[in-house]
């Protein structure tokens, strides 16, 4: 069966002066996959992530999303192309309520500049937003200020915001960072459910090995800016290169 390629990265290279943070990385992600990007600190995964998202200009290489090159695209252009993302640090709008946060995450995809000024004040999104917070079981916090939520709840809200516009591809930047064990299980279960229900493709950067191994369908390991291993979680676990990279690094 032929599945379509959602994200394709070719020969991505990024130098910082003499340092090659990312060096000739190429990979593809198919529709519905959950791809993990792992590697020791300084292996270049964050740089790679930022290059894909247009936050950093790559020294060379191309990024294609659904077969279209996105060179020079800004973050909001990418988002309109159906790319959602979460952030490593907490990234909600702290002085806005939970429901407002979620509506904000969807409103730029509805209507035009004109209807957003003269149309409904919720852009017709209240129902969809309530469904989304219900899905992440934040319903009881609907009208709380996002900034008053616990760390884990804000992480969930961050994820919910990334999904609100119905993206085909979501890039998750260390979703497990600083989240407690119970919450982690819950987050993983929600992500897998969402993936099954909507066929959304995920690319996940993560330090937490257990989390990545149990969440992802495929894993790419980076070390010193290059791909040193690629495969199913169980193959990665047994791969000697990977063990060396982590223990040696």
């Amino acid at each position: 069966m032929q599945t379509e390629t959602v994200l394709s990265v070719k020969d991505m290279t990024k130098h910082f002066g003499p340092i090659k943070a990312v060096n000739g990385v190429s990979f593809e992600v198919k529709k519905g996959e959950i791809l993990g990007l792992i590697g020791p600190n300084g292996s270049g995964k964050s740089t790679l992530f930022n290059c894909i998202l247009g936050q950093l200009a790559p020294s060379s290489g191309t990024v294609q999303i659904n077969g279209k090159s996105v060179a020079g695209a800004q973050a909001h252009d990418l988002n309109r192309l159906g790319v959602g993302r979460t952030f490593q640090q907490l990234s909600v709008f702290p002085q806005m309520s939970v429901i407002e946060n979620i509506i904000m995450a969807g409103q730029e995809h509805h209507g035009t500049m004109f209807t957003r000024l003269f149309g409904k004040s919720d852009a017709g999104l209240t129902g969809a937003a309530e469904d989304m917070i219900e899905f992440f079981r934040l319903g009881h916090l609907r009208d709380e200020m996002a900034g008053s939520l616990s760390y884990g709840q804000q992480k969930l809200l961050d994820a919910a915001m990334a999904f609100m516009a119905g993206p085909g591809l979501v890039l998750l930047d260390e979703p497990a960072g600083g989240v407690n064990l119970t919450m982690l299980q819950y987050l993983k279960e929600r992500l897998i459910t969402y993936n099954r229900e909507h066929g959304t493709t995920f690319v996940v950067i993560e330090h937490n090995m257990e989390f990545v191994m149990s969440l992802c369908t495929r894993i790419i390991v980076l070390a010193e800016g290059e791909i040193i291993a690629e495969g199913a979680p169980e193959d990665i676990r047994a791969n000697q290169n990977v063990i060396d990279a982590y223990l040696g690094g």
Binding site: N50, G54, Q55, L56, A57
Partner: protein
Amino acid sequence: MAELLQILISGLSSGAIYALAAVGFTLLWQASQTINFAQGEFVMLPAFFVLAGMTLFGLPLWAAILTAFVLSIVILGAMFKKLVVEPMLPHGTMPLVIATIALGLLMKESVKEFYSAQGQPFPSLFPQHVMNVFGASVSVQDLCNLAVAFAAIIALQLFLQRTRTGRAMQATAQDPRVAEILGVDVKRMVMYTFLINGALAAIASILISPVYLAKFSNGETLGMIAFIAAIVGGFNQIRGALVGGLLIGVLDNLAAVYISAEYRTAIPLILLIVIIMVRPQGIMGTSEGRTV
């Protein structure tokens, strides 16, 4: 030709003084992300320390200058850092910008109310006579100002590059977190930067006041020119601020002679807008990739 040389030299001379203010401005920005809107008033004030020292306390010129120098470092350096910048940094750059605007206003109005609203003659450190160089009449004062300002900038550059403290300050400016890991006392380095800015402001003040009279409103133009010089030069390097300052000094003098005197002050402003539109990284700056 002779006229052009004359304009060039007096332009470079005032430009070098602008550069002192611009360099200080850039240093503060690098070290603590402080955009000092009071920088012009920082240059205006030390001259009044000197005048107050001479008229109120009867000090001889040299002693008054020395006192003003120390006062500038303490008040415009240390106290500014401790009392204004430090309590406000946790709230982000916006309140600090507004606070420095208010501080500038406070300094300006205080001088106006408590000293004088009139421009005050300021004793010159250098002989006033005019030399003849290749047919151009060049003021000795201009040449001396140029020399002193350049000496100050070169000394600063040497300090930053050759000494251990200087290099630690540069590391702090580039990335405070990395500097901290390398064992640099980041807080102290930031404080040094503020002290240096106070000293640079004092030098600029003492050099420029004999030329333009010491007046409470001097800071308006000086501050603007310091910003513009810093932006023209790239906003993040000393070399750039120097080039920016010199360029504005020369352009300003050229404009006064060859373009209408009415729009003389508009030249740096137009330069600023053009630079931002055409080459936002500044003349000397390099463009960097966008970052998060």
